[in-house]
């Protein structure tokens, strides 16, 4: 039978729980992925006392996690696109920085090389003019090497980053699988949602979604199955598949291991950091490396072809000026300034003949080797391409950061802890607790009244 004592006691314990939960919210206010919790009160079933139903107090029906699945899914989608755009932009701007300094680029050395060819044409028998040309040719091959080396350093960075990201994905997958098990077990025991465990698992999925595109399905028992990229199953209940990284020539390849077999899924890993890395590599890095190689080889071939038509200072037929081998391996083949074939190969030989040097210098304006543009034009296209891709990537990254920020705001409007609100609840529940305690004091007074009456 209900009494003021028992009724107030239910209030005391209920508000104590509520205060504990407020404290929990305050404690976790800064924890990433924490969703604020709210105690749900319900009135206890009344008892019938002949004259009517007497209330028997209050109880906590559940502790609710403020969480909106739709908003959370929006945050994850945004994290996937934003993660992809951010890493793409970061790496593109590294390449952008490489081409930023005009003194570091290819253009000034190309210009000086052709200027030196003009110098030889102006004065074909001058050894100093020929030495200048060899020096500038050496500087040109050095610059090709430098650009190729920076490119491969960036490629190494991408490879390491892919390996690191894959390792992170595997760790997160393991964490999700472990939490799946615990959640299934605890869900089975109490029938009440294990809010903090759910938060932890959701946070792991959040983190996973910035690394790669994620799809997930909640199962009836509370476990979540996770698929990445274009549908590779990563977590199924308590078990995980693993991703691995191998090297194909110089590029990191992503493997998917399942049932003892491995499968190349590099192209399937879209979205997120991993997708961004793969995209950057194929769209920007590999493309600019290939174009630099084309420029190096195109130039070497065009110069060599013309150079072989001429004769050197001693009347011998011109040999190869450069040894082609892409930007990384183009070498100067000539070793002596006398070997520069400035003289024509068809006219009677004379050391003051500059006809072939003129033709060599004219290759600066030749457009046959580079599909309608000059060698310097082809290089300018590489710069423009990297520049505009970086610019697009930057705009993309900024826009997607904005979207993510709005999605997070919407999500945190529901799930986030506001300390002022918690302070208000703290005061509110404290008052309620004090009131319940006062009611118990009244119960005690009533009891004392009866004791005193009996003593008389």
């Amino acid at each position: 039978m209900a009494s003021i004592l028992t009724t107030s006691l239910t209030a005391l314990t209920s508000y104590q729980r509520a205060l504990t939960t407020v404290g929990h919210n305050i404690a976790n206010a800064d924890v990433e992925g924490y969703s604020r919790q709210e105690v749900m009160f319900t009135t206890k079933p009344p008892t019938f006392a002949g004259s009517g139903w007497i209330g028997s107090g209050v109880e906590v029906s559940t502790v609710e996690r403020r969480y909106d699945e739709f908003l959370a899914a929006q945050v994850r989608t945004s994290r996937t696109s934003s993660g992809e755009a951010e890493v793409y932009y970061t790496y593109a701007s590294q390449l952008d920085d490489l081409y930023a300094d005009p003194e570091l680029g290819l253009d000034p050395v190309l210009q000086r090389y052709f200027n030196a060819l003009n110098g030889v044409a102006n004065d074909p028998s001058s050894i100093p003019a020929r030495e200048v040309l060899l020096g500038e040719a050496e500087a040109l091959t050095d610059r090709f090497h430098f650009l190729a080396r920076r490119g491969s350093e960036i490629a190494d960075g991408v490879n390491r980053d892919i390996a690191g990201t894959v390792a992170d994905i595997n760790t997160l997958a393991k964490g999700i699988a472990e939490l799946n098990q615990v959640i299934v077990e605890s869900g089975g025991m109490a029938g009440q949602p294990p809010n903090d465990l759910l938060d932890q698992r959701d946070q792991l999925i959040n983190e996973l979604s910035s690394l790669v595109k994620v799809t997930y399905y909640e199962q009836g028992d509370g476990a979540v199955n996770v698929f990445v990229g274009s549908g590779q199953s990563l977590v199924v209940a308590g078990s995980v598949a693993t991703l691995g990284v191998g090297l194909n020539a110089t590029n990191a390849v992503i493997y998917y291991y399942s049932d003892g077999a491995r499968q190349d899924v590099t192209e399937q890993m879209t979205g997120g950091r991993l997708g961004g890395l793969v995209q950057f590599r194929s769209q920007v890095l590999d493309a600019s490396t290939a174009r630099l190689d084309t420029i190096a080889d195109g130039l070497a071939t065009a110069i060599n072809d013309q150079h072989r038509l001429g004769r050197d200072l001693d009347g011998a037929p011109g040999g190869d000026f450069f040894t082609p081998g892409g930007a990384a391996n183009i070498q100067l083949n000539l070793t002596d300034a006398r070997q520069i074939a400035a003289a024509s190969g068809t006219l009677p030989f004379n050391s003051s003949d500059n006809s072939n040097a003129l033709e060599l210098a004219d290759l600066q304006r030749d457009t046959a080797a580079f599909g309608g543009t000059t060698v310097q034009g082809a290089y300018a296209q590489v710069v423009a391409d990297v520049g505009s891709r970086t610019r697009t990537a930057e705009l993309n990254a900024t826009a997607l950061r904005g979207l993510l920020s709005r999605a997070e705001e919407a999500h945190s409007a529901v799930s986030g802890v506001n300390l002022d609100e918690e302070a208000a609840k703290l005061m509110h529940y404290q008052q309620a607790y004090q009131a319940a305690a006062q009611a118990i004091a009244v119960a005690q007074k009533l009891f004392e009244t009866i004791i005193a009456a009996m003593q008389r």
Binding site: D30, N115, P348, N350, G387, A413, G416, N418, D420
Partner: protein, 299 residues
């Protein structure tokens, strides 16, 4: 009800301050370097245009330098041929003097001796070297003396009939000298009807007392041949001057364009920096004020 999570509030405030700072630092870098485009991505089209303009400028400078070579040699040629013209003029006067019926054989011998001297001088002028020590009138063969006296009124030409071209603009080449063949030689390969042969025969005819009217005509012919070459050389020098002027005007224009694309507008950048400073200060101050507000202060 619009709730704001405290965590997010702090995060957003910090993020916006960081954003303001990074914009400010970019502007500061622009001001420090004086450049509007710090990376190609700041303005991809502008960056390519900068490369193009720099290339035009550099190539233009190279053409100016090439023109310098061509001009120096054409001027050397003009000086030499001016000497040749004067020399032939003197020869022509001497021939007329010698041809005068009143001229005694002694006088004719004296004239012949002067013509011999002038022939030596003419050979020296025809073997003029440029500042590099190369023989200017050998065509492409400039490492050996083009003209030698082979004796008996014959003169050999060791040069060729090719002109050395100098690239003076994208699509224009200019010969830096005319060939000895064009200037001095006639149609006989042994040089007997060259300018030198004409002088040799004049001296011989003076000594033998023969009539000089053929020689006088030949001298005029030789003079005309040299004048024609000089006119061509002069036209080339004029063309070089024109091209040089165009090139320099173009360079000034290209510099201006380059500066417009590449260089920073300081007034704009400074006012932008002031705006950004203000924004950063505002976000710092508002954050300090707002973050002090808490209900916990009243508990």
């Amino acid at each position: 009800m619009n709730r704001i999570s405290t965590h997010l509030f702090h995060q957003r405030a910090t993020a916006s301050m960081l954003d303001n700072q990074s914009r400010l630092s970019n502007t500061q870098l622009q001001l420090a370097t004086g450049k509007r485009i710090l990376r190609p991505s700041d303005d991809p089209a502008g960056a390519t245009r900068t490369l193009d303009l720099q290339r035009y400028l550099e190539t233009g400078r190279q053409f100016l330098s090439n023109m310098g070579f061509a001009r120096a040699r054409l001027e050397t040629q003009e000086t030499a041929l001016e000497g040749v013209t004067g020399l032939l003029q003197r020869v022509s006067e001497l021939a007329v003097q010698g041809n005068n019926a009143t001229a005694s054989q002694t006088a004719r011998d004296g004239i012949a001796a002067e013509v011999d001297q002038l022939l030596e001088q003419l050979l020296a002028l025809a073997n003029t070297r440029d500042s590099n020590g190369e023989y200017l009138f050998g065509g492409l063969t400039r490492d050996q003396k083009p003209f030698t006296d082979s004796g008996g009124g014959t003169f050999s030409y060791a040069g060729d009939d090719q002109q050395r071209q100098i690239q003076v603009s994208e699509d224009r080449r200019v010969a830096d000298a005319d060939t000895g063949q064009d200037i001095f030689m006639g149609s006989n390969a042994d040089g007997s009807d060259s300018a030198f042969g004409v002088l040799y025969r004049l001296a011989a005819d003076l000594r033998s007392g023969a009539d000089l009217s053929v020689s006088i005509a030949d001298i005029q012919q030789a003079q005309a041949q040299v004048l024609e070459v000089r006119a061509r050389g002069g036209a080339r020098l004029n063309a070089l001057d024109d091209l040089g002027n165009v090139n320099e005007d173009l360079a000034v224009m290209l510099e201006a364009q380059l500066s417009e694309i590449r260089d920073l507008d300081y007034a704009e950048a400074v006012s932008r920096m002031n705006r950004q400073l203000l924004a950063l200060q505002a976000s710092q101050q508002s954050y300090t004020r707002l973050s002090q507000l808490s209900l916990f202060n009243y508990l």
